[in-house]
Amino acid sequence: MAAGKVQAIRSSLPYQILLYCNGWYYGLFFIAEILIFIYKGETLPFPPSALGGEVTLLFILAGIEAIRIFFGQKGNLTERMVAVVLCIALSIPSLFGALYFLLWQTYVLRIEVILSAIQLAFLGLELIFGVISVVTFARAAPY
């Protein structure tokens, strides 16, 4: 940093790769869950309004996930702390959504356990890298 000419890149590459792949993975998760709900609705008896609620939750989760990944990617690339903090905050509802599909829904199929476990692994890793990015962006504030 001799004459203020050298600008270090502080965006995290692993974080960006994780967010990019998580966007695609959520697409797979979404389609798989829709097909699983069709299967479950055809073959299993559901209490009234349970199936509708779960499908609605899946769609809400898709919206949250889209906003979260958008803010994470842009915040990481532009080295803005606020956007990454927003991404970390949005990962809490996303976490509970994935936990709902893993533990608390009416029928949990074996494949859903695996699908939500991978989603949770993505969320956990992104949380770690997100916190690291926030610390990096906050420490090297311009002066």
Partner: protein, 138 residues
């Protein structure tokens, strides 16, 4: 950016195959029974069951290897490796779903293992060796 479509395609087929391998590892009794004669002893069952467990576990290890190569950036943007991996894992995912639904006998798993897990892992090892040892780059 001709490569950009290959990266998610490879990732998704890899994930789909991984999920199916874990599902079979979880529920393999019917497949093991279908490659045994009508009357079998417990020893025969354990022998075949262990064979399948070992095969699936080795496949999981090879998945870890490929994911390291993929997420580590060693072969992420290598079109040839991405094509081999996508083709092998896509056919692997299809074959594995037939394996579950049609209750294929457990010995046919080794064909799926050989062509759809071991083959892309082998090319991945070659890529890793080329990058890390011989510094061949992209």
């Amino acid at each position: 950016m001709g490569v950009s479509g290959l990266v998610p395609a490879r990732f998704l087929t890899l994930t789909a195959h991984l999920i199916l391998v874990i599902v079979i590892l979880w529920s393999r009794e019917e497949n093991v029974k279908s490659c045994l004669p009508l009357t079998y002893t417990q020893d025969e069952y354990t022998f075949k069951d262990n064979q399948l467990i070992i095969g699936l576990s080795v496949a999981l290890g090879l998945f870890v290897l490929e994911l390291v190569g993929f997420f580590g950036g060693f072969s992420t943007f290598m079109p040839s490796q991405a094509m081999i991996s996508t083709a092998a894992h896509a056919s692997g995912a299809v074959a594995m779903s037939f394996f579950i639904f049609d209750l294929w006998e457990c010995d046919t798993y080794w064909w799926i293992f050989g062509f759809c897990s071991a083959f892309p892992a082998l090319t991945e090892i070659i890529v890793l060796l080329g990058v890390l040892v011989f510094h061949k780059g992209l």
